[in-house]
Amino acid sequence: MTPDIEKIEHLLNAKAFDELNVAERELVLAHLSGSAEYEHMRETLVRVKKVFVAEAASLAVDGDLKEQILNRFEQNKTRHPSLPERVATFFQTLVPSPAGRFAGALAVVLVVVSVGFFVWHKQQPEMAQQLLPPATEPQVVTLMDNTPPPIALAMEKAKGTTPPAESTELAGSTQAEPGMVSYDVVARADQDEFIVAGLADGKELYNKDAQTPTEDLKSPERSKFIVAEEQAPPVFLNQDGLYQYQNSRVADAGVKRDDNYSDAFKNYTPPVNTKKTEAESRVQEKSASVPQKPNAAAGSGYIRQEETVTVTESKKRKSNADATGALYEDVSVTSNIASASPVPVWPGVEGQTNPYTATLESVKAFFNKETGMAYRIGSQEYQKSKMARLSLTFNAKGIITKVHVSGDVNEAQKKAFIQRALQLPAFRFTPGAGKPLLEQTYVLELN
């Protein structure tokens, strides 16, 4: 693995080995033999830079050389540029970037076309009208100010109905009404399983039976479960700062807002859930589950040939150097396959060569696709950008059983990450790519 010199440099410049924290030491020791080597590198860089600076400062540039160069410059500016050249140079000075010049030229073309169309329209109004698209009624969907949040309506309808544990939808989930933005109130059937899995004691206490009276939820032992559930962020906060719980039984138990939540969370606006409907998701998943067989000709399904190629380049010297002084150009490039060996291929992550990384890449793609959040590993300068570490634990069914967030994030951001993770559908493991028997944790670094 190529060491990230930028990260290590930053540490070498900033800290002695003893001042490094655990993660920083781990990074350093992945590439260096120990603290002694680290300190040698640190000292070397400091001393080398001093040498370079002192050397450059003491270097005397020949004064005669400058005069000679400037004379040559004067001799070569005898030609008077023509008007088009001067205009072009003027614009080049104003808009140095090629992109800017292109945009300017495009703008001029558009103005000319628009003026021409306008003139023509005046002269040929009927014909121009036929070319214009018909005006359409603007479609506006707005949330009516005084309308209760959709989930509150769903909560009202859900009271006394079939429990959610047996279905994938809260009974009475609201349909979009005219003028309202629809929030997706679909709860995963295993939502409770996730919450319970993080609390060993709660697992025994929790009763998925729909007939369990809500009074039981108020018992001291069950309150432990309720507290754990309360720590999991709700679907959203309403304008009064009160949580609207997805689980109607918890809401019925009269659990109040946790005052330990940061005030910053009051301003948190949940994104409008644009998740597809379940039917659409199933259709997509079904079509995606058809395995890709890139090496169909070999007839072996998930196997491809990995080839080691030797590349030979031939260059020739040019008669004249180009603008940057390059004197050699490519003549030919030949590739010869030195060896070939079969390697497994997993659909969607064809570049991976072992089951764990294949699954990890699948998890990343899954998370990115479902949440729209980017992830990067090792591409940001260490400690110079906000990085979150999201740890997702899956069971064999692809259900997330634990979520842990750490890193340079505040409480509101942590809750946002957890909330998004909670809303993820079940993850489909790539066939044969390390499907866990019990639980497996994958760590993503997000920014």
Partner: protein, 195 residues
């Protein structure tokens, strides 16, 4: 528009080159003042500390620039461009000469105390000047690509991307070269202590 008698000093390199392309001598002189020293130092380090050759190369570079300032595309970053030109000049020189400087440590009279038969047991007490000489030796022993990357990073403080653009290679390659150069140099120079 710039006030030629005041603000031109604060103009960017790209703007100065644009003005030089239009025949502005003062703009070109400013470019020379900003870069002549840097390029001479770069050539000095890349060409085995041959000061005559470094001067000649600096002269060649700026003569080219003086004769054809319009060769520079003002849409690009000037520092990257001029170092690319300098880098290619050095590459052409290496191909022509196929010379590497090998300097023996003994030739500079380094005082050594031999405390064991193994080289690792050698103990050297040198002064600062000798450290500089040893640094020069080790840099000259480096492959030119490693040396270029090292100088551009730790003297000119260029970014990895800029260095990759100048050298016509990938950022990963630059990172790898830098890391192993620093590691190797620190290994070679760790025996030295300041008095």
């Amino acid at each position: 528009m710039l006030n030629l008698f005041g603000d031109i000093q604060k103009a960017t390199d790209e703007h100065l080159m644009a003005l030089a392309g239009k025949g502005n001598s003062r703009a070109f002189a400013l470019i020379y003042d900003r870069y002549a020293g840097k390029m001479q130092w770069y050539f000095l380090r890349m060409l085995g500390k041959d000061s005559e050759k470094a001067r000649d190369f600096t002269q060649d570079l700026f003569v080219k620039l003086a004769e054809k300032p319009h060769l520079f595309d003002t849409g690009k970053k000037f520092s990257t461009w001029i170092y690319t030109v300098a880098h290619n000049m050095c590459k052409n020189e290496y191909r022509k000469l196929s010379i590497r400087n090998h300097v023996s440590g003994d030739a500079i009279g380094v005082e050594r105390k031999v405390s064991g038969e193994n080289d690792k047991d050698l103990e050297m007490h040198v002064d600062k000047k000798t450290f500089e000489k040893m640094l020069e030796i080790e840099l000259n022993l480096l492959d030119e690509n490693h040396r270029t990357a090292f100088l551009l990073r730790y003297k000119e403080e260029m970014s990895i991307k800029e260095i990759a653009d100048i050298m016509g290679t990938s950022e990963g390659t630059v990172k790898s070269r830098l890391f192993y150069t620093v590691k190797k140099l620190s290994e070679k120079l760790k025996a030295f202590e300041y008095n």
